[in-house]
Symmetry: C2
Subunit: 367 residues, 2 copies
């Protein structure tokens, strides 16, 4: 297993360090430290809400490690100039680099040269697979139950919901796979497709290929991206939605979001957002939001319980915070939908491709 240092210098908040928190939550055993000189002495759990006792360090030399993982995913995905020295130092120490930036480190002249000299590997996780093309519009024909985690906003917990639901279905003896569509999910799962980095014409085709490859499963938990009501990311969201053609959606939301993130737009009422997703998804196959996954991180237990009850009362849809309350009721709703759709237990699409997963992050497969 790799021994990972996560880079989050100056940005160790659950909001900025989304990649870091995902890795700590699902690959925590592989993480030896977090590099952020401004948080030294604190515990990961206290700063990031996950990661237990994982320490913060100020210098790479403070621990033994073999991999530096970029733990921040800035909008636009460029390489901040101030990270260059630490990436250089990591390579000089013989560490592999794992990055989910839009900016490919492996195509940076200086970094590539240095990596070649030191014989370390650069894993640009957001690099799209080769040979993509437009969708063939076939995901809708598959028997596999495509459950898509969608959101009213970006950065709201769609990846966590997908992984937790897939794990919970497996714990009940069902065959379920998490389908990663973003860089953090790909680092965790060891496979997936970075849909926001794909040529826009090929987004639907890219997720379709991933769904076809795993169509032998009973359930696919397909990670959503962005939001249909988000001005910056809606195109990616719709391409993904139409490409995977879900029969079922789980709506992830943060009851505190009054504005759409990174914008001055008011957040539409959740009922309206659900309506929009159901209308747009149903252009492919009849599709329904069967559960709401509330993200109540940072609320008190009483506040969280109130927010969840309010949503469930108002909308008449099963609601839970998957981390706080567990995924059981949401999984029940998905299984009820499975029956409603007439899908058989244990059956995916016969004869589906199911080749070995291409390793995309150099970290091995999980979870």
């Amino acid at each position: 297993m790799p021994r990972i240092v996560i880079l989050t210098e100056g940005k160790s908040t659950p909001n900025d360090a989304k990649t870091a928190t995902g890795i700590l939550r699902y690959r925590g055993a592989d993480v030896v430290a977090i590099l952020d000189s401004t948080s030294v002495g604190k515990r990961a759990e206290d700063v990031l809400g996950t990661g237990g006792d994982t320490p913060f360090i100020a210098r790479l030399g403070d621990v033994e490690a073999d991999t530096l993982l970029i733990g921040i995913a800035p909008a636009g995905g460029d390489l901040p100039r101030e990270w260059r020295p630490v990436i250089r130092e990591a390579i000089e120490r013989g560490m592999d680099i794992v990055s989910g930036l839009h900016y490919f480190l492996g195509e940076d002249e200086e970094i590539r040269r240095l990596a070649a000299e030191r014989r370390v590997r650069i894993h640009d996780v957001r690099r799209p697979p080769p040979n993509l093309t437009v969708s063939r519009n076939v995901a809708k024909t598959l028997r596999v139950h495509r459950v898509h985690t969608v959101g009213h906003d970006c950065s709201v917990g769609k990846m966590v919901a997908s992984i937790e639901i897939a794990n919970a279905l497996r714990a009940r003896g069902r065959r379920a796979a998490f389908v990663a569509t973003g860089q953090t999910g790909i680092m965790i799962a060891g496979r997936g497709v970075p849909v926001d980095r794909v040529i826009s014409d090929f987004v639907a085709g890219a997720i379709e290929t991933e769904v076809l490859d795993q169509a032998g499963e009973e359930f696919l938990l397909i990670e959503g991206q962005g939001s249909l009501v988000h001005p910056l990311y809606s195109g990616v969201t719709l391409g993904l939605l139409h490409g995977c053609a879900p029969q079922t959606m789980v709506m992830v939301f943060d009851p505190r979001r009054k504005r759409i993130k990174h914008t001055d737009h008011d957040m539409p009422p959740l009922s309206r957002v659900i309506e929009i997703y159901e209308e747009m998804a149903s252009l492919m196959v009849p599709s329904k939001v069967v559960a709401l996954a509330a993200n109540t991180w940072g609320l008190t237990q009483a506040e969280a319980d109130r927010a969840v009850a309010a949503a469930e009362d108002e909308l008449g849809i099963v609601t839970a915070d998957i981390i706080r309350h567990g995924p059981a009721r949401i999984v029940d709703a998905i299984l009820a939908r499975h029956e409603e759709l007439g899908l058989e237990r244990g059956k995916g699409t016969a004869g589906a491709r199911s080749g070995p997963a291409p390793e995309r992050a150099g970290l091995g497969g999980a979870p």
Copy 2:
């Protein structure tokens, strides 16, 4: 001016040779012949519905020309193997190549080497501009009247509608620019952004940049792509829609389309499609479909008149075939909307950038 041969070998139909018909319609004076050995002896007008007497030829050597332009835009945008010899021959004859394929000829080892030897230029019109990033969500704040031609389907006439309306506004003494978003439009206008070739995360940002660059105009006629109800292209369509944040839309439709092109999906009723566009566009700024542009190519005059009257009666929205009936009534509807929005005559956004257009196709600017 260039002397262009358009390549459409074996594919000279208005449907397959979309790029060819666009170039013939708006850059016809620069076209000396169409290379399609299966149509020799026929006139362009009779085969493609435009292009007058432009002849078909069987061999490049049959005319004097300096540019070979790929006139077909296959879904997926790959380079058909059988075109390689003719591209090779064109380069050997010293001709420049203009291509709108996803597959970049300038990155093809053989073609690049040959082009360098013969000192000809390869213009890959679909190559995205450098330095794109995510949208800043600012198009909505501009005073310029953003008129977006949208469609119920792909390949329905959105580019033609945009160009004709922009020309008609200028003929009435208004300041209006056509904003190209696809390869053919870019070849015609000499500028624009190929939104379907952009990294999906950057679609909204790409069109936003183009809109900002031309915000000093009074009207921008922004070419739509695909359709929100098209399974293959909806993501591109929504990214474009949200990135340009139109106050006004013109819906282009073909009254004969019963199925969505390239799919087995029924075409939803036009009233429903309009509703979906207005809902999704209005997430950015209040937006309205003020006119319907019918594409009645191939119908008799009586059939066309009936189809147009039926749509206008049913939906209560001004309807015309821009080519057959002229754009006057549609332009009137846009000008009425201009007044309704309280936009002043002649005013775009003061202080807007308006640098010289980057030349993107090597054909000079038009129309």
